[in-house]
């Protein structure tokens, strides 16, 4: 078996072939979303939990468009600013989706959407005890990531840059330290703007990348979904292949012996 087919991502009790996780927000249409997800090769897709519009039932339902046999839903707690709201949202998500996978995010600020790690740790502790498989969106802080692992989170998801910013992996050294610090999978969540950002995350040795805006916000989301699919796979292969060390001066690729004189 080649490395490509045997190289699985294991989160909790589930195993995935794709290391790219994608969101379902911000698409121009359901058809575009479905096609982009398909082309991305992702097996895990994030969804948000929101009130049903009880006055206007005309809007179509997201789940009518998603093949639940093919994809693992990862409901998020986007928009929650306290541990209590995030916990409520996770309980609702489990009841709606009948799965215990949750992307836990507790935000601290509307402008940066940076995590409130104090509330995040509180919520994670409660949810792990309730049997959830918790994937927390967190700062790129190795200390917080270690605490999340010790609490029992199934993975840690440090941000590469602010949500939707497209700034890429702003602190690759922190991401590397996080990977040295925790044993659970490290998934870069947020900040990916283009294919090279995803490849860089994977070349660093991250176990996966999660993105939404990077694909949905592109001029051609379907083409970008394919680019991200390739980038994540290329980055992973390069990581496994082991890159050459960086050197300041040249080393000739052709033999020095036997040149004509």
């Amino acid at each position: 078996m080649s490395q490509q087919t045997s190289d699985k991502l294991v989160i909790g009790e589930r195993e995935f072939t794709s290391r790219l996780m994608v969101g379902t927000g911000k698409y121009a249409s359901m058809e575009q979303m479905v096609r982009a997800i398909e082309v991305s090769g992702a097996e895990v897709i994030t969804v948000a939990v929101r009130r049903v519009n009880i006055s206007d039932r005309s809007k179509e339902s997201l789940l009518d468009h998603i093949d639940l046999k093919k994809y693992t839903l990862l409901p998020n707690t986007a928009g929650c600013y306290t541990a209590d709201d995030a916990i409520r949202t996770c309980r609702l998500a489990r009841e709606a989706g009948l799965s215990d996978f949750v992307k836990l995010e507790v935000l601290g600020d509307e402008k940066t959407l940076f995590p409130d790690n104090e509330e995040l740790l509180k919520a994670a502790a409660v949810l792990v005890k309730e049997g959830f498989t918790v994937l927390p969106y967190t700062s790129d802080d190795p200390i917080v990531c270690k605490k999340l692992e010790d609490i029992g989170c199934a993975a840690v998801m440090p941000l590469g840059a602010p949500i939707g910013s497209g700034l890429g992996i702003r602190n690759p050294y922190n991401i590397r330290i996080i990977m040295d610090t925790v044993k659970v999978p490290v998934i870069v969540d947020a900040g990916v703007g283009t294919a090279s950002d995803a490849a860089i995350a994977m070349e660093l040795g991250c176990d996966g990348v999660l993105m939404n805006t990077g694909i949905a916000g592109a001029r051609d989301p379907i083409a970008m979904a394919e680019a991200m699919n390739l980038a994540v796979r290329a980055g992973r292969l390069a990581y496994l292949a082991g890159r050459i060390p960086k050197k300041l001066y040249a080393t000739a690729s052709s033999p020095i012996e036997g040149t004509i004189s």
Binding site: G23, K26, T46, R51, L62, L63, R91, L92, E95, A96
Partner: protein
């Protein structure tokens, strides 16, 4: 007889109903939503047997696109 409840933050006047019948009256597929009654999750199996009472606070949520 009718009762007043709060549904997704809005005040509603409804006849006495079970949660399941109320969802049906709103044309909501019970398998596609989660329901919280007075801050507690209501398991799907209890929709048919749980009757709504005066002053109940109901949250009905579903999945939408998100990252």
């Amino acid at each position: 007889m009718s009762l007043e409840i709060i549904v997704n933050g809005e005040s509603r006047t409804i006849p006495p109903l079970s949660v399941l019948d109320y969802l049906r009256s709103l044309e909501i597929d019970p398998s596609r939503v989660a329901v919280e009654l007075n801050l507690d999750i209501l398991p799907k199996g209890a929709y048919a047997t749980t009757r709504l009472n005066q002053g109940d606070r109901l949250e009905i949520v579903h999945f939408v696109g998100g990252g």
